[in-house]
């Protein structure tokens, strides 16, 4: 388990995508207001060594944008990301290359993230060659080791990605991510495109690797069941904000935020005697019938108030801050505390 030392710290991260002023509006001389998508709007979190933090949310919640900011793939609008004390946005040159080799990523679509014209051996070797450039023999050995680690037969090393099934391609993606012996791995929906029986294989592999290689990771998914299997701690995101963060057991067995409760109640149940479509909570969700609003025009106050069954007057006007309800857990909801975020003009 975790020794408690912090590997990653994200402080008040914001990522606004500028949509500019619509050309039609400019032409008509109407509203000249710049529009922004507030993809990530004030996210703070930490990940300790050897810990897996699950980041769960529906489409448009901003979970993948958080990952791209952490990896330095897009410059954040504001906020700070510290990896082992280094500010990800500020490192340059050699330091930056070193940082890259310590942080790796596995993407959702194994077909789209592997170069179809490269052989498996070269795909897996590329990150190692790009960062430290060791001699060929050493690279070959590392590739062999990686292929064995993820359960790919050596005779496949000269084949091309299209010759593999989805599950095998995801193994190639994992081998490529791990070859630089990274200290931190982002797993962005790594099993969402896979069939159920194959998803189980890849989840088991990831869990074994996490144990055997003492990996620290951020596991992003929309699937509550998958996040529950993989994570030590879980953060639930909604419209660019964290609704609730805590240990896996806390969040799964006793969800506090009304959104987390709704998410958990919505999970289809394999047991026909435990169907949500026949439960009280399920009825409520259906009758209320609302879907998540757009992050271009997020609701005022608490972003969830438009769908919340417990919304109070206060939730419509002012935004709840994170309240610590236990040493390991905090929730952004007035039902659990008075912490408030002062109104800020954008």
């Amino acid at each position: 388990m975790s020794d408690g030392s912090e590997v990653l710290r994200v402080d008040d991260l914001r990522m606004y995508f500028d949509l500019g002023v619509s050309r039609l509006d400019r032409f008509l001389g109407g509203e000249k207001e710049r529009k922004f998508v507030r993809a990530v709007d004030g996210v703070s979190l930490t990940i300790s060594r050897e810990e897996t933090l699950g980041l769960v949310g529906e489409s448009g919640s901003g979970k993948s944008t958080v990952a791209r900011c952490i990896l330095g793939l897009i410059p954040a609008t504001s906020g700070r990301i510290l990896f082992e004390g280094m500010d990800v946005a500020k490192v340059k040159g050699r330091q930056r290359r070193l940082l890259r080799s310590k942080m790796q990523v596995v993407f959702q679509d194994p077909a789209g993230s592997l170069d179809p014209s490269m052989r498996v051996r070269d795909i897996i070797a590329e990150p190692l060659e790009a960062t430290s450039g060791p001699p060929r023999r050493q690279v070959d050995e590392a590739v062999e080791r990686m292929m064995e680690l993820v359960g790919l037969a050596q005779e496949y090393s000269n084949r091309f990605p299209h010759e593999f099934s989805g599950g095998q391609r995801q193994r190639i993606g994992i081998a490529r991510a791990l070859i630089t012996s990274p200290e931190f791995v982002v797993l962005d929906e790594p099993t969402s495109a896979l069939d159920a029986s194959i998803q189980a294989q890849v989840l088991n592999l990831l869990k074994d690797l996490k144990r055997n290689l003492s990996l620290t990771s951020l596991f992003i998914t929309h699937n509550m069941k998958v996040v529950s299997f993989m994570s030590d701690r879980i953060a639930v995101m909604y419209l660019g904000k964290i609704a609730e963060i805590g240990t896996r057991d806390e969040v799964i067995s006793e969800p506090l935020h009304p959104y987390t409760r709704m998410l958990i109640a919505s999970i289809p149940k394999t047991d026909p005697d435990n169907r949500f479509t026949e439960s009280e909570e399920g009825r409520r969700i259906m009758e209320q019938g609302k879907e998540a609003p757009s992050p271009i025009n997020p609701p005022s106050g608490c972003v969830f108030h438009t769908r919340c069954p417990y919304a109070m007057e206060r939730c419509k006007v002012s935004e709840p801050g994170m309240t610590n309800v236990s040493p390991t857990r905090s929730v952004a909801c007035y039902l659990y505390g008075d912490s408030e975020i002062p109104n800020r003009a954008t």
């Binding site: 029986s197 699937n223 299997f229 799964i252 289809p268 394999t270 259906m286 009758e287």
Partner: protein, 348 residues
Amino acid sequence: MTETVLTFKEVALTFETEEGPVKALSGVSLDIPKGRILGVVGESGSGKSVLALSTLGLVPRPPGRYGERSSIIFEGKDLLRSSEKELELVRGTGISMIFQEPMSSLNPVFKVGEQIAEAVELRILRKELKQARSISLLESLRGVKGIDESRVKEEVLEILRDVRISDPEDALDRYPHEFSGGMKQRVMIAMALAAKPSLLIADEPTTALDVTTQAQILSLVKDLVREFEVSVLFISHDLSVVSEVADDIAVMYAGRIVEVNDVRSIFRSAKHPYTKGLLNAEPRLSETRKSLESLAGSVPSLLRVPGGCAFHPRCPLVFPRCEKEVPELLPVGSSGEVACHLYHGEKE
């Protein structure tokens, strides 16, 4: 015996491709009883979607070719041997379908109200002209024969209310892109139901939706099935989604049905090793297992389906007979059928 709405009988479908014949369906026999929801679950390449398309005569022939003994019986007629004109009448009036992607199934340049009205008008006309032989005839009559427009509008509004669209008057004049994914799927369902079909086919209707929206749509489908007394063929790759809505479940693997039973029996006492594998491969919310019980290997390509039982290379309980002989789908226990040598005949 309960009444049957649709019967698949020994449906076999082969596609001729450059790489050789693809056996998309092999010997599929299945009944959909009246007023029940039959869930069909299978991974990619299991043949579940092509089964749905076959029902509506939407499989292009060639390259598709059905076996000589194959038939799909709906209202006494074999859909595989019906003319294109007969099929047109069945589509949207006897059998309706909702697809995975609502955006690509709705016409982006027509208002939602108009699209639902079309389905309503066709149904009204069809009823008046029982002997009408083709949809194109009905289409051309739409302009000529004065249909009471206010009656159509009333009915469209009623259907929009049925699918729980909160402001139906407002929805009428909107275009599909103005709706969220879940609302679009409601409109699709409204169009499907406007025809008052006796069978509704839903092919992965919630796969593109978020989980909370999926919950709403699944509850809605279940409610409407009761209200409209329609039978449903519900197709999904997700066993838990199927378990939420279905009365009965058929599990498909490599173009064959490997097990059929009522949903409770599947959950409590699955017989086929593949069904058991699917149940155990799914992570549970309150997961205490250190690792999931995964099935080895991968889903076979339909170009190279393993001989004997197609599942034998991945089966933990395989024995010699499985490699040679295809198991038949036969009754087992008090309910259900399974295609597995473990349950039928000698093991040696």
